[in-house]
């Protein structure tokens, strides 16, 4: 993987193993060991993939004793919608200002 893919959050899903991890997490929260047990990759590889998914905002982790439990982040898309809602509210307000301004004669 390259740096661009890391930076582009949803590009994190281009990898088959990461899609499999997301599919597992879609069934419920899991620890790294539980995820590795169900996948044909090592525990450390799963950790690497989880880090990428976490950096992309798709997955979040919580401490549970000495383990970390991973789960899908359900608020990412809700946050995106809010962001776009704000974006267009401001854009249309700006549009009204521009459209109502006197026409410049150049």
């Amino acid at each position: 993987m390259d740096a661009n893919q890391d930076a582009d959050g949803w590009g994190a899903l281009a990898d088959g193993t990461r899609r499999a991890i997301v599919a597992c997490l879609a069934e419920g929260p899991r620890a790294v060991g539980q995820l590795a047990a169900g996948l044909p990759v090592s525990r450390s590889a799963v950790s690497q993939h989880l880090k990428i998914l976490k950096d992309a905002g798709l997955v979040e982790d919580v401490a549970a004793g000495t383990r970390r439990i991973y789960r899908l982040n359900p608020v990412a898309l809700e946050a995106l919608r809010d962001q776009l809602d704000t974006y267009w509210r401001r854009a249309l307000a700006g549009y009204a200002d521009v459209v109502h301004a006197p026409i410049e004669e150049n």
């Binding site: 930076a7 879609a26 898309l77 995106l80 919608r81 267009w88 854009a91 700006g94 109502h100």
Partner: protein
């Protein structure tokens, strides 16, 4: 709550200009009214160009000449309608996979010869990635995830 509503942003505004001018200002001067803090160039934007044709782009250009093409024009029907893709990921980077982009439609209706209603719909926001369905349907427990997973799988297939 309907899934379509949950992943759609709708806005409208009425402006006191003829429909032709409402359309022209929206497309010609898009860069003059879009919120400025949002750009992916990491440098001040010198101009934003809304290329007025299907297959064109909306392009931000920085003062140093860098370009960011962040939308594809999907429909351009003056003075009634324009549709463009939203090729921006939730992290404000360019999304290169069209299957993971959303879509903006802007429609113009003449309420009178000097008054125009502009309706904007930003739809398919869920295409930007997983995570929306369970939240928007108010299903936030384990029982909601299988439903979400089916949707997600369908999205991945579309992306192939």
């Amino acid at each position: 709550m309907g899934q379509t509503e949950a992943v759609t942003v709708r806005k409208q505004i009425v402006v006191d200009v003829p429909i032709e001018r409402a359309f022209t200002v929206f497309t010609d001067r898009f860069g003059d009214f879009k919120p400025r803090e949002h750009n992916m160039l990491g440098a001040p934007i010198a101009e934003t160009v809304f290329e007025p044709r299907v297959g064109g782009n909306i392009v931000d250009r920085a003062a140093d000449g860098a370009e960011c093409r962040w939308a594809r024009i999907l429909a351009f029907d003056p003075p009634d309608r324009v549709v463009f893709s939203w090729d921006i990921s939730p992290q404000w980077t360019i999304e290169t996979d069209p299957a993971q982009t959303s879509e903006v439609e802007v429609r113009f209706y003449a309420e009178s010869p000097v008054r125009t209603r502009v309706e904007l719909e930003h739809r398919h926001i869920d295409r930007h990635g997983p995570g929306s369905e369970a939240v928007f349907d108010g299903v936030d427990g384990p029982q909601g995830w299988p439903l979400y997973l089916d949707r997600f799988a369908a999205l991945l297939k579309e992306g192939r």
